[in-house]
């Protein structure tokens, strides 16, 4: 449909505005490409950590790797929000270009924008909703986020192929001294400065939920690393997990089962009599917050050794929680063997609160928070 006269006039006026030109689009496009590329790679790592394919083993070191990758994932996603809105605004006049397509290749290029724009907007707003623990979608967020990411990234590859030459040309213009610059380049610079500043402002108001020296600035963060039971956040409470009675019951036992020579069953009091070890480890949530704490408890490998488990075994850790998606987590052989992989009874010198997994929780290096299983009741050796 041919645009109306007023739309054409607006579009043509925009053609003279450097905020809508190729250089602006190229600069924003490169920034967005870096953000989406970072989000995609860190998102893949998080997905593989939680749903490991057969060829993937979650490394135990560096201990804070997941904290960094998932913090980056969320913060680059937040940074991309103003960048994407600005990019779409800059390119919007071209939505009503006429003729709408000039060749088969141009038609393919424009059709590929549909999954790109829809996917990019969808990923950012639903990702934001997720870190705020708001779940408006009819489907499970992580699965939806993962598969729409592939669609979006595929469309981004098409877009990069289409704009490769244009972007290189737009960015390779020689720098012009300030006094010789047209007034228009000032308009572009001011626009991009404002967009960058808005991105920076949003990141600064959230980053403190994982970069703890910035916690004082974290005024729009959905979590604060120092607020919660025992001074750090809780993802799932004991009440919502339905373990308020079973976790404190005298019938509680930790059982080591499966491929072991000597099955073990220990009461909460007997767990406290085992040799205790300390480790300072972060608890890092998929939603982008993290907090480093001093944990103490029993080394997982010591328990397995006492039970006569074969070396190099992996284990499944089961919670008292029934039916939750994260009631069981897998621990690879490398993580089992790590001296800092603990079944913790205490944090920062105090007995674990019920919300943090009393009487016993798993804490290990480089594990997503949902895999730091709370209210542990069974270790099954594979």
């Amino acid at each position: 449909m041919r645009p109306t006269t007023s739309v054409r006039r607006w579009r043509d006026d925009a053609g003279d505005d450097p905020r809508h030109d190729e250089r602006t689009a190229a600069l924003l496009g490169v920034a967005l490409g870096v953000c989406f590329g970072t989000c995609f790679l860190t998102g893949l790592y998080s997905h593989f950590a939680q749903h490991p394919p057969s060829w993937f083993e979650l490394p135990a070191r560096p201990a804070g790797l997941y904290r960094v990758t998932q913090g980056l994932h969320v913060l680059t996603g937040i940074a991309a929000i103003p960048l994407l809105l600005a990019k779409l605004w800059a390119a919007f006049p071209r939505l009503v270009q006429w003729p709408a397509v000039t060749s088969v290749a141009h038609a393919v290029e424009r059709i590929s924008l549909i999954p790109l724009v829809a996917g990019a907007l969808f990923q950012l707003w639903t990702g934001l909703a997720n870190i705020d623990l708001w779940y408006p979608l009819p489907s499970f967020f992580p699965t939806t986020h993962y598969w729409v990411a592939w669609i979006t990234m595929g469309a981004l590859v098409v877009h990069i192929g289409a704009k490769w030459t244009t972007t290189r040309v737009a960015l390779s213009r020689p720098a012009v001294p300030d006094e010789l610059q047209a007034p228009s380049s000032g308009a572009r610079r001011r626009f991009l400065t404002a967009v960058g500043a808005t991105s920076g402002l949003l990141v600064a108001t959230v980053a403190g939920q994982t970069i703890t020296p910035l916690r004082g600035l974290a005024v729009l963060a959905p979590r604060h690393p120092n607020l919660g039971s025992q001074g750090f956040p809780v993802n799932k409470s004991a009440r919502s997990a339905g373990v308020t009675e079973t976790a404190v019951s005298p019938d509680y036992r930790l059982r080591v089962t499966g491929r072991v020579g000597r099955p073990i069953a220990l009461t909460a009091a007997e767990l406290g009599a085992w040799p205790q070890h300390e480790a300072v480890l972060p608890i890092a949530c998929v939603e982008g917050w993290s907090a480093s704490r001093r944990w103490s408890g029993i080394r997982l490998r010591d328990l397995l050794h006492a039970a006569g488990a074969p070396s190099g075994a992996s284990v499944a850790i089961r919670s008292l929680e029934r039916g939750g998606l994260y009631a069981v987590s897998e621990v690879d052989a490398a993580q089992v063997d790590d001296p800092d992989t603990l079944l913790a009874l205490r944090v920062d010198g105090a007995t674990l609160s019920l919300d943090h997994g009393y009487p016993l929780r798993l804490i290990g290096p480089d594990r997503p928070g949902v895999m730091q299983t709370k209210w542990v009741t069974e270790i099954r050796v594979r």
Partner: protein, 153 residues
């Protein structure tokens, strides 16, 4: 093509790079669609949200932003137009970003560590930073303007 139609399509080069991008990109899109259909629960209802996001942006938010820009350009004096328009745009982004926090959709009675802050106060604070920056920019423009006028005199 109309010679006066200044922003009619700029034809990008559709060479080898483009077609390699199309082949690789659409293979990845195809993989994504396959996984989406197989693994995402209620794929049709969810797809409505994906498409709806595009329609709401392109059909509502973006046109409103364009109209707001035209109205501001018509009513604001030239000297303050840029910083004030930028301030309004940044404020709109901060408000949209903060919407789930302000509505407290995620808050749970049994877990006070979720959304633990006073977000209405904090949004006012962040918007205050934006408008303080706008005010400083305007002040800077006034001082520079007077200095330049003084030099000319």
């Amino acid at each position: 093509m109309n010679a006066n139609d200044r922003s009619s399509p700029r034809v990008d080069r559709h060479g080898v790079t483009f077609w390699v991008g199309v082949a690789v990109g659409w293979s990845v899109i195809g993989y994504g669609i396959w996984g989406y259909v197989i693994h995402v629960g209620r794929p049709v209802e969810t797809a409505r949200w994906v498409v709806g996001t595009l329609l709401v942006h392109d059909g509502l938010i973006a046109p409103l932003a364009v109209v707001a820009g035209l109205v501001l350009a018509a009513v604001l004096p030239r000297g303050i137009r840029g910083p004030v328009t930028g301030g309004l745009a940044a404020t709109a982004v901060v408000l949209a970003f903060s919407y789930p926090l302000l509505r407290a959709f995620g808050r749970r009675a049994d877990n006070r560590s979720i959304l633990p802050l006073d977000y209405p106060r904090d949004v006012v604070l962040v918007c205050g930073i934006i408008w303080a920056t706008v005010a400083l920019r305007l002040l800077h423009d006034v001082v520079r303007h007077r200095t330049e006028r003084g030099k000319r005199a």
